[in-house]
Symmetry: C2
Subunit: 459 residues, 2 copies
């Protein structure tokens, strides 16, 4: 194998993990990161961000041999813990026993991955902002503090610089047929920290992802290792109940008291946090092509930024790395083939997880408190128990089955949803949901929809 001088733009989660993969393959890897070294700084208020690490991400971390380093800073979440407006609590397991996702702090994870990257011989240069890329000379111009503009040559470059990728912009602006789509949902988000109780005790159920679904908006909270929870309010930008309208501390407190009464008690400085923490927006990015010849490739959010409602942004990016690794094993030095195959495989999957994530936004905020929806999930869960290889709920396919491609999971979920729509419309379904009649009907429909009676798995 020919050793490459690999340049990675962005020392975020995907850039750092990718650098470890590339370094283990024997390449010389340098990461250029726009920001300062976050390990030397404290976390910005309201920007702590928790992520849900699940099987696709775990698979990649295992592959590269660093899973034990990471699971040490993760908290298992076995299901959704629903807080209804009526004050009722309900726990919905994510999957079968042993199927769970993991709450992990973006900050801690990123720091750990950078440490591991450097440990694997990767050089990380901070405060290097990608300015432009010369596609003829294969040179990247960076902007460094004090108007330095160093020019870096590359033979192979990965852009892992996130949803607002500067490298993607340089790719786009010098491309004559670049398809590009970015769109924002009508909700923004704001982080609200729920502090730990005495002796770092957890003030909510520890091993769960908490959701307060309220139709047009919702609050969620994920546990941290220190006993605190990171809460996130997803809320419309505009309209009768929106960020635009909540302009005084009184209004915020009163809104929370009415809407999330059990939260007001555990966030003493709620209104202060509300006004001190930034309101952020949520974007989906789809684009094509991701690659340029055999020398440049978008990866992670830079290729496919998605909204966070399936907890798959990071997992999708880590899976990108894993698939790239497989292609390197298959095609050796043939980077034209590696990158074009990567794009061909992953573009439909990137599009699919973007759509799944937007769909799940509707589900999470509007339906997790709806009795019909809960009944539907109960039927599906029972079916899955009885026919574990045939009927896998969409959430499980995406979260616990890395062998099923995102694009296949999307197709499967659309098929399952259309069957369940029909089933939920049956007269008396509330009584007979657990009957053989209903089960047989679903299976007959499922078989008539499917060619080979099994879910399509990843080749």
């Amino acid at each position: 194998m020919k050793k490459q001088e690999v340049v990675i733009i962005g020392a975020g989660l995907v850039g750092s993990l990718l650098s470890i993969y590339m370094s283990k393959k024997g390449h010389a890897v340098t990461i250029y990161e726009r920001r300062n070294d976050m390990r030397t700084e404290t976390v910005e208020a309201g920007r702590s961000i928790n992520l849900a690490l699940s099987d696709r991400g775990i698979k990649a971390l295992k592959e590269v041999g660093i899973i034990d380093d990471i699971l040490g800073i993760a908290i298992p979440m076995h299901g959704r813990y629903i807080h209804t407006a009526e004050g009722i609590h309900a726990f919905q397991p994510y999957g079968k026993t042993g199927e769970f996702i993991n709450s992990v702090s973006r900050y801690e994870l990123n720091c750990r991955l950078m440490d591991l990257a450097e440990h694997h011989g990767v050089s990380i240069k901070f405060n290097h902002k990608c300015e432009d890329i010369d596609w003829q000379k294969n040179e990247i111009t960076f902007h460094v503090g004090q108007d330095e503009l160093p020019v870096v040559p590359f033979s192979l470059c990965f852009a892992a610089d996130g949803a607002f990728s500067a490298a993607r912009l340089a790719h786009m602006l010098h491309h004559n047929k670049f398809d590009y789509n970015q769109y924002y949902i009508d909700c923004g988000y704001k982080e609200l920290s729920i502090p730990a109780g005495e002796n770092n005790s957890f003030l909510l159920e520890k091993n769960a992802l908490h959701i307060w679904p309220r139709k047009d908006y919702m609050l969620i909270a994920l546990p941290n290792t220190d006993g605190s929870f990171t809460g996130t309010l997803f809320f419309p930008f505009e309209g009768p109940l929106s960020f635009e309208r909540l302009t005084t501390k009184e209004a915020v407190t009163s809104f929370f008291k009415t809407t999330f009464p059990d939260v007001v008690d555990i966030i003493p400085d709620l209104a202060d946090q509300f006004f001190n923490n930034p309101t952020s927006s949520l974007v989906t990015v789809k684009c094509f092509p991701w690659i340029r010849d055999g020398k440049f490739c978008l990866i992670g959010d830079a290729a496919h930024a998605i909204v966070p409602f399936f907890g798959q942004g990071m997992n999708a990016g880590f899976e990108d790395c894993s698939i790239l690794n497989t292609l390197m094993d298959l095609h050796g030095d043939d980077w034209e083939t590696i990158l074009s195959t990567f794009q061909k495989l992953r573009k439909p999957d990137g599009d699919a997880i973007a759509d799944l994530a937007v769909n799940n936004f509707v589900e999470m905020r509007a339906k997790t408190a709806d009795p019909n929806f809960l009944l539907q999930k109960k039927i599906e869960s029972k079916l899955h128990e009885r026919h574990p290889d045939k009927w896998i709920p969409a959430y499980s396919q995406v979260t616990f089955h890395p062998e099923i491609r995102y694009s296949t999971a999307l197709a499967n979920s659309e098929k399952q949803e259309s069957i369940m729509q029909m089933v939920m419309a049956l007269p008396g379904i509330e009584e007979k949901w657990d009957s053989k009649e209903v089960e047989d009907l679903i299976l007959a429909q499922f078989n008539s929809h499917t060619n080979n009676n099994t879910l399509h798995k990843q080749a």
Copy 2:
């Protein structure tokens, strides 16, 4: 009315026309144009481009009092002149008698509009490339040859700099929730000039838009005042028959001999033109928002770039100017209201004409030679004759009815198409297409689809 210092970016068709409108309203207008003054240059080979000026564009030119200047350089086209693969010719009128579109050279039209703009007191500064816009200071930085970077203040700025608008990029990059979508169709285009015959005679029927529909690709030709025609080949970039594969003069000549035999005879230097003229791509751009406060607005292709298959790109841009003019009359100096109303009205129309144009691409290349399609058009044309206010074919709504909004035309056309699909599936429709039975059926369907039995017109 308060006199504004208006900056328009781009001296293309829309920028030039807009400058006349603004100047007539009493504002001080300066246009900054990236390129050299085209009036001092000769037309680039393969970049002559003919446009179809129709009623929406004409309405705007009349409003501003320059229609006579323009019609002098236009050639009426009364219908499509179809050249089938079998060598059959057929003429399809565009509308009723007196309804026609006008072939006009982009170059001549643009030169004329710039002359008229200057005549109206507009100052045009050439070789000024928009580099960036400072949205706090309201200043635009331009790049002028020899690395001059003049900074121009503005109180009101219109970006009329086309599909690849630099001003839109400055708007997008400094915006925290900008929806943006650009996508390319799989076909490119190449211009091929058909010279005039002796004494500037026309070698094809003069007053028609010629089409050689061939399913996956097509050739069209529009007349010029000097007897020549500008031909344009719309052709796949990749695939068995594509620009990628036609790599030798022999291959080009042989392809044209087989596919467009009547064209080979009238373009003596066909293969030379094919390789000398550039291959261009076709993009659709949708974005939002178009405006920033009461001081900046995208207009024309910069706001809504579309593919050329409905002949509406320029007409839509001219209509933008006309609607802006109406809003200036209504709202005087209230630019916040003028621009926000403009965006509210025109965004759905820009989206609609973009979709109509892509749909018409399919219709033009695939269907204009299809007997079923021709029969459908014949039925619709007869219906229109008998019920001129009730059934207006989509093409007519878009082309000859500026009082019908694009978004309404799209909704109407979808309704009509679904009715016609049902009608075309009737057994024996070939025989009974002109019967009272069929007419009554269509009208009954139409009425049941429509609330008030008339097409929705523009308020």
